[in-house]
Amino acid sequence: MKKANRGNLPALVLFFALLMLWQLGAMKMNAAYILPTPTQILQRLWELREPLLMTHLPATMSVTLIGLGISLVLGLALAVIMDVSPLCQKALYPIVVASQTIPTTAIAPLFVLWFGYGIWSKVLVAVLITFFPITITVYDGLQSARVEMAELLTTFGATRRDVFLKIKVPCALPYFFSAIKMAVPMSIIGAAIGEWLGAQSGLGYFSRRMMTQLDGAGVFAPIVLLSAVAMLAVALIAVIEKRVVKWRGEF
């Protein structure tokens, strides 16, 4: 732990230096509706803590979690299907990759049109952004299993199911965690974008409302909160990963 802290020191110093620069620059500019200072943002965050934490954060988090859950189920299922069947891999892989060329943000307003201002239009945005990295990363993980290991197990009398459970799954586990660490911030971004486009609550929606009121600090406050939550979530997953994955990388 001590070592990690020391490693982070340069980053922390730079971070605070940049914050100072921002603070000074914004103070000099003196136009809080365009560029608020960090202290103004923190102050606003404190003032708005009640609606932000009680109403809008839970709304965004439920979109994020539902989106992430669906992406996980969908992504894992696709990865396993592609791994098991080469035919499915040939059929699905190009489509999965192509789905990423769709500019999700640009067509997201359509989702609002189709699914309304409720939660599902936002969930769809989050899913579209996150299922791809999960599918591809977990698929790569399953494929990283070495043929020789599978052959050895086969000479022990293993079935395809044995090979999958005893080799493929352990091989894919580190990849799975990498995928989750990527997917969590992305699903939060997806949820926020969805809310920006049209919602009744949520941090993205709140940020946009503050924009129309020319409240610069109010625009930033929910974004700061979102970032903090994303960082916390990733850190939490890293802790779980450390406990579950005792092995990573080279054979």
């Binding site: 070495r146 052959e151 092995w247």
Partner: protein, 253 residues
């Protein structure tokens, strides 16, 4: 009855225009230790892969314990060149693999057998260690213990020591001879190292050409209680030169 018998076996890799094995027949008697000696790429490993069921012959029959190999789930103990210990499992968990796959052995019994196998290969107390905590020689011994735990009487060892450093390799060869004497298993050992073949086997099966049509059996005039010094005896030095000459001549048609 032979432990292993090849009866007019022909094999051709899909997409190749030549056979790698052609009408090959040979038999291995129980409790013997043979080395298959040949240059790299001559098809030695193909013989193993046909025996352990990873490949299926184009023509002929492969019999292990008098039964055809095709369709059987587990045929023999196979140990490849790399130890292939699964890095996410402890040494003990690695050794449990063959028993997990076979099923029907209670956990307690598995542990007993694992401890016995580890003690036998000189790794007592290493059950909870991770493979990357072991040295190269120890890893090979663990892999050998895992092969033993398949419960097979026929062990196929495919250049298991070729990646080890010189001195470790010598120690492991002596160790393997010792294991063979105490367990009474039938061992078939692939190598391209003439000295290794002479030191280990009761007779050397030389691959003289590719496609392999026959294995030339050369008896090693040493008993089971041999030592490395025996290799310096004149008749063995001569035999070594003869074998090297045969390998040099080996033609690839």
């Amino acid at each position: 009855m032979s432990v292993l018998e090849f009866d007019k076996v022909t094999y051709r890799y899909p997409g190749d225009d030549k056979n790698i094995l052609e009408n090959l027949s040979f038999a291995v008697e129980p409790g013997s230790f043979h080395c298959i000696l040949g240059v790299s790429g001559c098809g030695k490993s193909t013989i193993f892969r046909l025996t352990n069921g990873l490949l299926h012959q184009t023509e002929g029959r492969v019999l292990v314990g008098g039964e055809p190999v095709g369709g059987r789930r587990h045929v023999c103990g196979y140990m490849p060149q790399k130890d292939l210990l699964f890095p996410w499992r402890t040494v003990g968990e690695n050794l449990a693999l063959p028993m997990e796959i076979r099923g029907g052995i209670p956990k307690k019994e598995q542990l007993l057998r694992i401890d016995a196998a580890l003690a036998q290969v000189g790794l007592a107390g290493c059950r909870g260690k991770r493979p990357d905590e072991l040295s190269g020689g120890m890893r090979q011994r663990a892999a050998f213990a895992r092969t033993m735990l398949t419960g097979s009487d026929l062990l196929l060892l495919d250049e298991p020591f070729s990646a080890l450093d010189f001195l470790t390799r010598l120690t492991m060869q002596e160790w393997l001879l010792d294991q063979w004497r105490t367990t009474g298993k039938t061992i078939l050992f692939i190598t391209h190292d003439v000295e290794e073949a002479l030191f280990l086997s009761s007779s050397v099966l030389v691959v003289e050409s590719t496609p392999i049509r026959s294995l030339r059996e050369i008896r090693v005039p040493l008993g089971a209680d041999r030592t490395r010094r025996d290799l310096t005896r004149p008749e063995l030095v001569e035999l070594r030169e003869e074998l090297i000459g045969m390998l040099r001549k080996q033609v690839t048609e």
